[in-house]
Symmetry: C2
Subunit: 333 residues, 2 copies
DNA sequence: TTGTAAGCGTTATCAC
DNA sequence: GTGATAACGCTTACAA
């Protein structure tokens, strides 16, 4: 059995209260400090976090609730949030809803029951029910990646408009006018932004927007594959395609290989996110990068502030700029 | 403030003890059951897990301690373990040691202090100190991916010998005799197995084992890149290369692209693990797959058994067979 | 500066 | 079947 504060007090010849105070940073006489330190060392005492939690109505854990761990974006977030909050003494609970709105609500309840001190949410459902549940219980919340309509929260997002605008403008500068796009669910915040950027770039250049060039791939590998096939089988195939997330980029490559098309001779490609793919494929892929690490760290920091009760400038939205990497997957026309 | 069991008892006109018993599955009169149910519903009562934990010396959380979340192997494990244990009421804490042995020990202590009910360890350090700490505190432990010398634990591993043997044998059948291998740290359990399989296949075929054909890439992208360059710049370049983990496979592709070599004409490749890469590259990649999902699920199940106190057949080692997928990255000589 | 004691929300032991 | 009560390990008024 591990030793308790009671054992330490006994060993040091002091009361529990004194030991507790010392541990929590209140000042004590030098001699008592020495006695406590010695006792702690001898007994290898470590405070019991559960008891602490019960007393303080805190669990010293925070959760990341996300759609699926199979996306690099999500794992990257987990990693940077963990780096940020574990050093502050918080354990980080990972909770996947497996792209299932009902499960997202169940897991939200699970986390509430576990009394997590804060939640970082990468939303799956767009109706905001999960947010309402969390807010009803006054649990600090930071929403990542998306904004949910009619729900006021702190959030960390990408400048999606720019992430769509820059790459497409780049394609136009290279002489392309038949430019397709693979998008996510049109209801998604990120889709709206990225697609908006695409349209803005075309419009600015006086290029007509064609509906058949806009294909929804649902942000998944399979969806990207199908959407890419649809685009490539059009009567008039686009000469260039902007793929607006990472998983669809993978799917698109599968389709391209299946159709035996050559990049960039047959088709020019701009992808999304700087995960292993970009430099592994040949020729290397031009892509728009989200600063995932910075986004995750910001989420962790902001959540920590809220947990500490600092609600200045609530609700706060932090917008990160994408970075475009210019590689060899675009043909100059 | 959330309602407590005390509130439920008061509302139902019963004692706390009775309510507690009902909640914990003991039988009560039908009328009292109804009263309790009604009170629970009206008050939206959810048991306080922290108090429960304090009382039972349990935290209802388990941890996965792993080197780095940037590997698909690790995230895949997190995902399947979470799927397995969250439904049983356990939260899953993710803890990365960032490929740092000292941090691995610190985080082990962190988890012990958080009183996790069990740990799944994907070891980084090979000295087993982390295992000793965990075992000293009698925390149920399942080790994944590796076996650590002189440390008896439950563990889930791949049949690494077979994972090395089969692909190399396949290369030999295709007429290759100059076959290189990219390995991990030679001290690693997995390296020994996979390299052993490579050597066995060569030996059986009467092919000489050349030291310069065995290059350590440390299981990292950068290491794989460097090791691949070394192999390709040998006086006599191998005609085929077996790359014994996923990250090195990525690194190797970077090197191949850098050297502008064509697969399979210039060089034949067998990779490792069925993550997005295999079918995205062109031509598609022949690879050895670890059944990561099954391995993670087994780890979760076994840990759960141990937590429940079922120590029959301890220590147990579960060995999973690799599956080889034959694609287009091998030239027939 | 230090000690005392109540209480956080449960469960388990004992009476009734 | 049900109720009262001590205990889990800690923090925090309040008292000394």
């Amino acid at each position: 059995m591990a030793s308790t504060i009671r054992d330490v007090a006994a060993r040091a010849g002091l009361s529990i209260g004194t030991v507790s105070k010392y541990i929590n940073g209140y000042s004590v006489k030098e001699t008592t400090q020495a006695a406590i330190e010695a006792a702690i060392k001898e007994l290898d005492y470590h405070p019991n976090n559960i008891a602490k939690g019960l007393r303080n109505a805190k669990s010293f854990s925070i959760a990341i609730l996300l759609p699926m761990l199979d996306s690099n974006f999500c794992t990257s977030m987990v990693s940077s949030i963990e780096s940020c909050l574990l050093p502050k003494g918080y354990s980080v609970i990972v909770c996947e809803c497996h792209n299932n709105a009902k499960m997202e609500l169940q897991k939200t309840q699970f986390l509430i029951d576990r009394m997590v001190d804060g939640i970082v949410l990468i939303p799956y459902s767009l109706d905001g029910k999960q947010i309402e549940m969390i807010q009803k219980h006054n649990i600090p919340l930071v929403v990542l990646d998306q904004k949910i309509k009619n729900h006021e929260t702190d959030c960390i997002v990408l400048d999606n408009m720019l992430a769509g605008y820059e790459p497409v403008k780049h394609l136009i500068e290279f002489g392309h006018t038949d430019i397709g796009i693979l998008t996510g669910n049109p209801e998604h915040y990120t889709t709206k932004g990225r697609l908006g950027g695409y349209k803005k770039a075309l419009t600015e250049a006086g290029i007509e927007i064609k509906d058949e060039y806009i294909q929804c791939g649902d942000y998944t590998i399979d969806g990207g594959y199908d959407a890419m096939l649809r685009l490539c089988r059009l009567q008039k195939r686009p000469t260039a395609i902007f793929i607006s997330n990472y998983d669809m980029t993978i799917g698109a490559y599968l389709a391209i290989n299946y159709l035996n098309l050559k990049i960039p001779d047959d088709i020019s490609i701009v992808g999304f996110d700087n995960f292993p793919l970009a430099n592994v494929v040949y020729p290397s892929l031009t892509f728009a990068e989200q600063p995932t690490d910075a986004m995750g760290k910001d989420a962790g920091k902001l959540l920590y502030e809220r947990i500490k009760g600092n609600y200045s400038n609530y609700p706060k939205t932090i917008v990160h700029k994408p970075v475009i990497y210019y590689k060899d997957s675009i043909r100059c026309i």
